[in-house]
């Protein structure tokens, strides 16, 4: 038999606000639930490398789902009769993430999201701290203006090509061509108006500049940003983290706005220390998690006391 990926794809019917959303997700691994949020206008395929990485999946149940209207998750019924343009809001996005976690009966998951999936980590930290173990906010900040623009959804402009090319420069020139163009391809496959509609959340509805200080800091939040991200620069991430109690910042060199899919090897170097610490942080509350891992960790040197969690 030829090589296969270990990823399993399924559909779950997520109840939310009186509707049922047939939602596609992929998963692999066991242990701490690690729910991965894709970027605007695309889908969970962005996490295919992490879903297949045994260094991650031996301790984490990695789950990547497609938001409604993205990837294999169909839009709500009657979408063709909607009288307003699709525009993602912080309320729908954050509540749907939690509804998805509930539908899968996930207990205190770790949420890891990039771009809009990173930005939503801030409302999640504020409103759901008792339901989450930790947040990994990739390419995230409290305010990311300038992207809710009409050229991304215009009948005279090829939506697939313009959305994909508009984000191409967000990736680092050092990232492998193969993966950069794969990411371009994902973007070229988005539904009409979906990327722009997501960017309504990203650039308009998400404004946490005055709310960051209200986050309690009880849930660990790690903010990871690549130096080639021109939508959310390292400075924007740092300025945001400075306002959030106990937030940590990891600046990633030689990578851009899509770390998990534009350069999974470089991303892994930055991600694994965070995940290792999360396993350590979480292990007392997860006796059912990988026994083999727990044994190996007990032999590992004690971590420095300088870390906050």
């Amino acid at each position: 038999m030829a090589k296969t990926d270990p990823i399993i794809g399924r559909y779950v019917y997520v109840p939310y606000a009186g509707k049922e959303y047939r939602t596609y997700y992929e998963e692999n691994g066991q242990g701490i639930p690690l729910v991965c949020l894709h970027t605007a206008g695309t889908d969970g395929r962005e996490y295919r490398h992490q879903l297949c990485d045994t260094d991650i999946t031996k301790n984490f149940r990695v789950i990547a789902f497609d938001l409604p209207r993205h990837g294999k998750s169909i839009p709500p019924q009657n979408f063709y009769k909607e009288e307003e343009e699709y525009a993602l809001t912080s309320k729908f996005y954050s509540e749907f993430i939690m509804a998805f976690c509930e539908a899968l009966d996930l207990k205190k998951p770790v949420i890891m999201g990039s771009s809009m999936g990173g930005n939503i980590c801030l409302p999640l930290a504020l409103n759901y701290e008792n339901d989450l173990t930790a947040l990994i906010a990739i390419e995230a900040c409290d305010h990311s203006p300038g992207w809710w623009i009409d050229p991304l959804h215009h009948p005279h402009i090829h939506g697939g090509e313009v959305c994909a090319t508009a984000v191409f420069g967000l990736m680092a020139p050092q990232s492998p061509e193969e993966y950069r163009w794969e990411t371009w391809w994902y973007y070229a496959q988005g539904g009409p108006g979906i990327f722009k509609g997501d960017l309504h959340f990203y650039s308009v509805d998400h404004d946490f500049r005055d709310l960051c200080r209200k986050i309690s800091g009880r849930v660990p939040i790690v903010m990871m940003t690549g130096v080639y991200d021109f939508a959310c620069t390292p400075e924007m991430t740092q300025q945001t983290a400075d306002k959030i109690r106990n937030a940590e910042v990891v600046i990633m060199k030689g990578i851009g706005h899509f770390p998990m899919c534009e350069n999974p090897e470089v991303f892994k170097k930055y991600l694994m220390p965070v995940l290792d610490r999360l396993v350590e942080y979480d292990r007392d509350r997860r006796p059912a998690a990988s026994v083999e891992y727990r044994q190996s960790r007990e032999e590992a040197p004690t971590r420095g006391a300088s870390k906050r969690w």
């Binding site: 203006p145 300038g146 021109f230």
Partner: protein
């Protein structure tokens, strides 16, 4: 190490040699099949006029030629910005036209009929990447 010290002379010879590279490119024949427009590359106060037909540069000029009958869009930036853009490995915020033009950064201005710019963004981005050493 990224090379920042050697500035490219962004003159007419540079534009002509870039146009030659563009016209030798075989991918542009596919993705630029419908890219037909006149546009301006502005370097400091100097404008270069580029006439593109079906993904090929038919003419470059350093002054507006009557035969061009105007232009649709212009990409104007200081030489310091263009010099970073054309580096073999451009630094962050200078590796892409939209990155430089994004309101957060303002390193380059897109002027004129910007719809034509967005319509041809894929081929244009590929074309401008030919400014870098291959």
């Amino acid at each position: 190490m990224t090379r920042y010290s050697t500035l490219t002379e962004l003159d007419t010879d540079w534009i002509v040699s870039w146009a030659k590279k563009v016209n030798e490119d075989k991918v542009l024949r596919v993705i630029g099949k419908f890219f037909t427009a006149n546009f301006v590359i502005g370097v400091d106060d100097k404008d270069f006029y580029i006439k593109v037909r079906n993904g090929k540069i038919e003419m470059v000029a350093d002054e507006l030629n009557a035969n061009m009958m105007g232009w649709q869009f212009a990409l104007r930036a200081p030489a310091s910005s263009w010099n970073k853009f054309v580096e073999p490995v451009p630094p962050p915020m200078y590796n892409d036209i939209w990155a430089m033009a994004h309101p957060l950064h303002g390193k380059l201005k897109i002027e004129g009929d910007t719809k034509v710019f967005w319509q041809n963004l894929r081929a244009l981005t590929w074309m401008l990447a030919k400014m870098r050493p291959s």
